[in-house]
Structure formats: structure tokens, C-alpha cells
């Protein structure tokens, strides 16, 4: 593999990784606050992609409008799911909301299969496939779009979490849920908000991936969700920069792995990396060590 090919693969990896990162952020934020692995998150990403297709084909809207519509729809969906399936279980054992999340995931997946059929749907190519040459690498318009949209969304998220009141409340709740509640933070609102943002980011990821790979299917959420979750854990679950880093890292590793001849083992690359990282840094690359108290 020569240098230009390598840099091309790294660029492709970063593009793929950016979409993983968008999904991973939802996992990591939710986990940071309520320690729930939201297994329905991959399904939200899938529904987001379908809403995108619907807006582009049936309602004949532009891409950016469709993206916004998908994000909005998934926001509502994420908040509703949290209300119905997770909130009643907040004070019960750790596994109960997890099982509930799996139930939601099965429900959404079969619902979508019922509505759209099990076959993948093509995403209308609203963007032409022009290639631009920058030095040794070629970049397509879709890739540029993915990178721009993903960085804008992540920058917005960073701004919200860092400077806006509700973002500070999110950080407080993830630091210490009970103390945050005692300090007068409306924790329920914070959690709803977290689900809203996380779902919107996943929806954006769904639309972008649909456009990139030109295919949207009811089962796309399972593997993407698992890998994004891997990314979140790799970076250190609960850490927002960790999810971004983990996503990019995973995307690059996977693309290089495929280019290096391991394409049969494509789906195992993420998990092998995950186990290796967990063995040496049990809380991920940017995670804080767990303190054991007696």
C-alpha cells in the first residue's frame, strides 16, 4: 500500500468514523447520565435514515431540509421512548431498563420491516458524484458533506454542553445524578433533553450513511448501533470527546483493515480492538478510572 492509497483509506476511514461518532455520542451521553446502554439507539438511527428517504422521495424536499426533518422526528421519538420505556424503570435494577431497551429495539425493527419491507431501499442520490482531487487523495461531494455536517453538529454539541445552561445541567447530572437533583436541577428535563440531542445526532448519522452507501434497510441499525457503541466504549463511555475520538479511530481502523485484506473479518475488527483496549485501559481511551468505595 503506497502513501497516496494509505492517505485515501485514512480519509475514507475518517468519513465512516464521523458517522460512527454521531451515533456514539447518543450512547455516551445517555450512559453518562443514567448508566443505561440504550440498545434502541441503533434503531433510532435506522428510523432517521428512513425519514430522510421519505422526505426526499415523497415530499420532494432538499437534502438539508430532509436532514433537519429526520433529526426533529427522531428527537420526538427518542424523548417518547424514554418517557414510556425507561423512565418508569429509573429506580429499579440495572438490567430492567436494558431489557426494556431491547424490547423497544425489536419493536421498532419489526415495525419498520412491516411498513417498508425487509429489502433495502435506495437513497435517492440528490448530490452528484463529482470527485475533487486534493493532493494525493480524491474526495467526493458526499464525503465533504458528511465531514462538514458532522463537524458542525459536534461543534454545536460542544457549545451546548460547555456554555448553555441545559448543557451545564447535563454535565452536573452526569457527574452526580442525586446531587444535581438536590441542587434544583430538573433531572427529568435534562434526561429528556439528552435523549432528544442524542437521537437527533443519530438521525443525522442515518441520513448521511444512507446517502453515502446509497442504501437504507430496517436492519441497518443493528450492526451500526453495535459498532457505534463500541466506539463509545473505546473512547471511554460517558465522555463526549471520547465518543468522537472512538468513532474516528474505529472508522479508520476498519477501513485500513479492509484495505489490508481482512475484509472477511470486517465486523470483527471493531470488537477485537474493543477487547484489546478494555484489557489495557478498562475504562476506554479517555474514560476516567472507576473508583471502588467500601
Amino acid at each position: 500500500m503506497d502513501a497516496s492509497m494509505l492517505s485515501q483509506q485514512i480519509l475514507n476511514g475518517i468519513t465512516l468514523g464521523a458517522t460512527y461518532a454521531l451515533i456514539a455520542l447518543g450512547y455516551t451521553m445517555v450512559y453518562g447520565i443514567i448508566q443505561l446502554i440504550n440498545f434502541a439507539h441503533g434503531e433510532i438511527y435506522m428510523v432517521g435514515a428512513f425519514v430522510g428517504v421519505l422526505m426526499v422521495t415523497v415530499f420532494q424536499q432538499g437534502l438539508l431540509f430532509s436532514l433537519a426533518a429526520a433529526m426533529l422526528a427522531c428527537m420526538v421519538m427518542g424523548v417518547t421512548i424514554e418517557r414510556i420505556a425507561y423512565r418508569p424503570l429509573r429506580r429499579s435494577t440495572r438490567l430492567a431498563p436494558l431489557i426494556s431497551a431491547i424490547g423497544v429495539s425489536i419493536f421498532l425493527q419489526t415495525l419498520m420491516t412491516k411498513i417498508k419491507g425487509p429489502q433495502p431501499v435506495a437513497f435517492p442520490q440528490v448530490i452528484n458524484d463529482a470527485l475533487y482531487k486534493i493532493g494525493p487523495v480524491e474526495i467526493s461531494k458526499v464525503q465533504i458533506l458528511i465531514l462538514i455536517v458532522a463537524s458542525l453538529l459536534m461543534a454545536t454539541l460542544h457549545f451546548i454542553v460547555k456554555y448553555v445552561k441545559i448543557g451545564k445541567a447535563m454535565r452536573a447530572a452526569s457527574e452526580d445524578y442525586d446531587t444535581a437533583a438536590l441542587m434544583g436541577i430538573n433531572v427529568n428535563r435534562v434526561i429528556s433533553f439528552t435523549f432528544a440531542i442524542g437521537s437527533a445526532l443519530a438521525a443525522a448519522g442515518g441520513v448521511l450513511v444512507g446517502l453515502y452507501f446509497n442504501s437504507v434497510s430496517p436492519f441497518m441499525g443493528v450492526s451500526a448501533g453495535l459498532k457505534a457503541f463500541c466506539a463509545a466504549v473505546l473512547g471511554g463511555i460517558g465522555s463526549i470527546p471520547g465518543a468522537m475520538l472512538g468513532g474516528i479511530f474505529l472508522g479508520v481502523a476498519e477501513t485500513l483493515g479492509i484495505a489490508g485484506g481482512f475484509d472477511m473479518y470486517k465486523d470483527a475488527i471493531a470488537f477485537t480492538l474493543l477487547i484489546i483496549v478494555l484489557l489495557f485501559r478498562p475504562t476506554g481511551l479517555l474514560g476516567r478510572p472507576i473508583q471502588r468505595k467500601v
Binding site: I37, I99, G103, T110, L274, L278
Partner: protein, 299 residues
């Protein structure tokens, strides 16, 4: 005894009941790991698949007797359980779950790419040796062993680890050895269950053992009540039979199944029989007389 069953039940019911028994063995294994010892495992299906493929290959290629093939499958799964458990059991809580989830996916991809397993085409031509009688016998044996185990010194140290690891260590429980032993027994049972599955369905495909299957097992034990043997039996029965009873709604079956999971968790977050123990049911009268609670404070 199989002819005895077929006097009362048609083939369909026998198939469903045999399947239920097979799942029950695997679920009891996971219950020992997650319910009793409190170690989260999201990769149970991987151990099922290891047992299934090992015993199936031994049956087909070496014509090994059924009982030996099943046992070999169980041992192979248990061995991998130890190999995975040794480095990962020092991870706490969710991280262990995540590592096992990763292991499960790796195993699936490896089976998909091996030639001896038939890859994505699957492995066919496995003899149908797992009858209801055999499965029932193994289920009874497993339940008996689990009840005995829970009330042994080893079983109590498992519960101690679940309740408070540091306190258990301070009381002289060797955390690593105990956890790995529990993991080995649990994954051994998964292997047995997988071997029986292979010899019932007669066909194996790596995609049948994805993480969805692992979660199915987790659902079995959580729905019934974590750490409770009657709970595991009830949970597994309800969830294995539910899709069969829901067949009349055909296409909406899995949708209802998903909703049912959410609904049952909201109504009974600790599971249908959360905290109920077989041995305690029989001593309930005595406990009530002395004024103590019959159901323990397990969570």
C-alpha cells in the same frame, strides 16, 4: 419414553417442548453467571455456538457417540469461558458485559469464515439425536445441580460476590477463582445447550447465534427474576412459548413480543418471580412463624 410422550403430544408440541428444555439449560447457565454471581454477560450465544459446532462436527466427521459429542461441546465452551473469563473478569459491571458482547461477535464472524463450519452456508446433516426424553433428563439434572450448588459453600460465596465484592474478598472468598469457576460452569451449560440444539435442529448457521440470541437469554432470566431458579424456568417458558402462541397474529408477532418485553419490565421490574428461591418456598411456613421474610433481599 419418547413413545410415551408421542401418545399425548403431537410432533409440533414435542418440538416446542424440547426446544424449551434446551433453552432452559442455557438459561440456567447464564443465571449462574449473571443472576447468582452478578457478572453481566452479553455473549452467551457465542458459547452456545461453540458447543453446537464442536459437538456437530464431532458427530458428523468422527461419528462420535451422541453423549460424548454433547459433553465435548460443553467442555469446549467451558474452556473458552475460562480463556475469556481469565483476562476479562477483572473488568467491572457493564465493561465485562461489553467485552463479552465483543467476544460473541468475534466468534460469530470466525465461524462465518471457517471452512469446517461450512461458513455462511451453514452446517447441515447433523443427526437428530436430542429427543425430549434426553433433554428432559438433562434439564432435571441441571436444575438439581443448580439447587445443590446454590446452597453450597461455593454458591454462597457467589452470592457474596454479587452483593458486595469487596466485603466478600475481606471474608476470604477468592474472587478471581470463584468468578472463573462460575463462568466455566455457566458456559459449560451453554455448550451443552448448544450441542443439544444442533442435534435437534440438525442445521447450524452462525447468524443464528448473534447478539440477539444472547439478549434473548438475558431476557429469559431477567423476566423470570434474576438469581431465582423457578424464575428462570418461568421466564424461559413464557418467552419461548409466547412466540408460538402469538403465531395467530403472524406478521405482528415480533412487534407484540417487543412490546410485551417493555410492558412486563414496567409492571414487574424485578422479574415475575424476583427474589423467590425454590428452597425458600418450602420453608416459607417456618419463616413466617418466626416472623422473618421469606423472599430474600436479592436484587
Amino acid at each position: 419414553m419418547d413413545s410415551f410422550f408421542s401418545m399425548f403430544l403431537n410432533d409440533y408440541y414435542i418440538q416446542v417442548l424440547t426446544m424449551l428444555g434446551i433453552y432452559l439449560i442455557g438459561a440456567l447457565g447464564l443465571n449462574l453467571i449473571t443472576g447468582v454471581t452478578g457478572q453481566l454477560s452479553f455473549g452467551h450465544a457465542a458459547f452456545l455456538s461453540i458447543g453446537a459446532y464442536t459437538s456437530a462436527i464431532l458427530s458428523i466427521k468422527l461419528q462420535m457417540p451422541f453423549a460424548l459429542a454433547i459433553l465435548a461441546g460443553g467442555l469446549m465452551a467451558g474452556l473458552w469461558g475460562v480463556l475469556l473469563g481469565y483476562p476479562t473478569l477483572r473488568l467491572t459491571g457493564d465493561y465485562l458485559g461489553i467485552a463479552t458482547l465483543g467476544f460473541g461477535e468475534i466468534v460469530r464472524v470466525v465461524f462465518l469464515n471457517m471452512t469446517i463450519t461450512g461458513g455462511a452456508l451453514g452446517l447441515a446433516g447433523i443427526p437428530r439425536s436430542a429427543t425430549l426424553t434426553v433433554v428432559l433428563f438433562i434439564v432435571i439434572l441441571t436444575v438439581w445441580a443448580m439447587v445443590r450448588l446454590e446452597n453450597s459453600r461455593f454458591g454462597r460465596s457467589l452470592v457474596a460476590i454479587r452483593e458486595d465484592e469487596i466485603a466478600a474478598e475481606a471474608m476470604g472468598v477468592n474472587i478471581t477463582t470463584t468468578k472463573i469457576t462460575a463462568f466455566a460452569i455457566g458456559t459449560f451449560l451453554a455448550g451443552i445447550s448448544g450441542g443439544l440444539y444442533a442435534h435437534l435442529i440438525q442445521y447450524l448457521n452462525p447468524s443464528d447465534f448473534g447478539f440477539i440470541k444472547s439478549f434473548e437469554f438475558l431476557t429469559f432470566i431477567v423476566l423470570g427474576g434474576l438469581g431465582s431458579i423457578p424464575g428462570v424456568i418461568l421466564g424461559t417458558s413464557v418467552l419461548t412459548l409466547a412466540p408460538e402462541f402469538l403465531r395467530f397474529i403472524a406478521d405482528y408477532r415480533m412487534m407484540v413480543y417487543g412490546l410485551l418485553m417493555v410492558f412486563m419490565m414496567i409492571v414487574r421490574p424485578r422479574g415475575l418471580l424476583g427474589g423467590v428461591q425454590l428452597s425458600r418456598i418450602f420453608s416459607k411456613k417456618k419463616a413466617q412463624q418466626t416472623g422473618t421474610s421469606a423472599s430474600g433481599g436479592a436484587n
